[in-house]
């Protein structure tokens, strides 16, 4: 059965990441262009591991202020109130809108954290040339690729809160310093996910049967 499991890389073939055409490239050639669409052909995404680590480490660093600093600050006649991501969720929960609390908790706290942990795990498993459960690890990658964008939710919520609550002197809402950090975390983790090449998960599996 493993005789069938031939990858493009082993045959000296490169698949175009834009139009998916598989074409033959001499192994000595570093640069090649797809004959159908002209995109650069790579065996694997260029510097995948290094780029993913770079984006991911930047995201992990910014994740700390994103969670500790205030996300919004509300100024009213009765005083000021600052909310972090977590205290915002708690506020929603105690205010009785628990479905919203759950949505915001999942999108703003669970998704970024799981995404960071999953990417660290995938990078380490590739680094150790692990052959453990490649199908499950590929599925994990697919999952973080799919849900990563939903972390942007809180950014949109804040943008509309700020725009609406400008009630003269009565109350104003301003975005706190955590908003920019959180936005950066979302973008950086998305860039990290896009730079990671899931085919790296499968390369050790190949060699093991060689």
């Amino acid at each position: 059965m493993k005789r069938d499991a031939v990858t493009a890389a082993r045959r000296g073939l490169r698949a175009c990441h834009i139009c998916m055409l598989v074409s033959h490239v001499a192994p000595t050639r570093e640069h090649a262009a797809c004959p159908r669409c002209g995109a650069a052909l790579h065996l694997r995404k260029p510097d995948s591991i290094a780029r993913t680590w770079a984006f991911l480490l930047a995201a992990i660093i910014l994740y700390i202020p994103a969670n500790l600093l205030p996300m919004t600050s509300v100024h009213t006649l009765f005083g000021d109130q600052e909310d972090t991501i977590m205290s915002g969720v708690v506020y929603l929960w105690t205010a009785g809108s628990w479905p919203l609390a759950v949505i915001v908790f999942v999108a703003s706290i669970m998704v970024p954290m799981l995404k960071i942990m999953a990417l660290v795990f995938l990078l380490l498993s590739v680094k150790m040339r692990s052959r453990w459960q490649p199908v499950q690890r590929t599925r994990l990658y697919r999952l973080i690729e799919l849900v990563g964008r939903w972390s942007m939710l809180d950014i949109f919520v804040i943008a509309f809160l700020v725009a609406l609550v400008q009630l003269r002197a009565l109350a104003t809402i301003k975005a706190g310093p955590a908003a920019a950090c959180f936005g950066a975390v979302v973008v950086l983790t998305m860039c990290a996910t896009l730079s990671f090449d899931p085919r790296l998960i499968w390369d050790p599996v190949e060699d093991g049967h060689g």
């Binding site: 890389a9 698949a15 998916m20 725009a163 609406l164 975005a175």
Partner: protein, 203 residues
């Protein structure tokens, strides 16, 4: 399944496999990792531009009219999408403003225009020189267009404010919901592999 002779490599595990014919609406998956390789989408060249054009018109409406409003003591405060971006920018949060502008306005529009451009030319049986460039632009902007996330974000903001004042949904909220559904339909009718095989046929 009969093979068509062409080979393709899985983009997630690099396994080489033969392309097989699909029933209308069928999906071909990698037999090793299960990744979706390509789909059969009947009438792709008719459905994609139809859905995309409708989504585009509704998205213009979504940008031109207020999304939500707050009514306090009879006074109505309304917010448009671009108004929200301007508000963030005016507060000095240029990073957040730029992020919202790109993901909620620029990327969705680029995506819709690029999709219509590609498919309409192909429909006329023509493959212009810049076809590959526009396709690359579409592939690049796809992850960053977040209409559906924006929609849910607006809903969360609405509920958050509902206890403070009377919330007035704007016209753009409805058109936003419509374009979200139409974009999903366009995405479901669209298959890049199919599009490129039509490019090969047209040349």
């Amino acid at each position: 399944m009969p093979t068509t002779g062409a080979i393709l490599a899985c983009h997630e595990c690099d396994l080489l496999q033969h392309e097989v014919g699909l029933e209308p609406g069928g999906v071909a998956r990698c037999r090793r990792c299960g990744a979706q390789l390509y789909r059969s989408r009947p009438h792709e060249l008719d459905r994609v531009p139809a859905y995309t054009l409708a989504a585009f018109i509704l998205y213009l409406v979504s940008n031109a009219f207020p999304v939500v409003g707050l009514s306090i003591n009879g006074e109505l405060v309304q917010a448009t999408l671009l108004g929200a971006v301007r508000g963030m920018y005016a507060d000095g949060d240029w990073l957040v403003a730029a992020l919202v502008l790109v993901t909620a306005v620029i990327a969705p529009f680029v995506q819709m225009v690029a999709m219509m451009w590609l498919v309409l030319f192909l429909r006329m049986g023509r493959v212009p020189k810049s076809f590959a460039k526009v396709f690359r632009l579409l592939a690049f902007t796809r992850p960053w267009g977040m209409v559906e996330v924006l929609m849910i974000g607006v809903m969360v903001a609405l509920v958050k404010l509902a206890h403070m004042a009377e919330v007035v949904p704007g016209i753009a909220l409805w058109s936003l919901a419509g374009s979200m559904l139409l974009l999903a339909a366009a995405g479901a009718a669209f298959d890049p592999h199919l599009l490129w095989s039509k490019v090969s046929d047209a040349r």
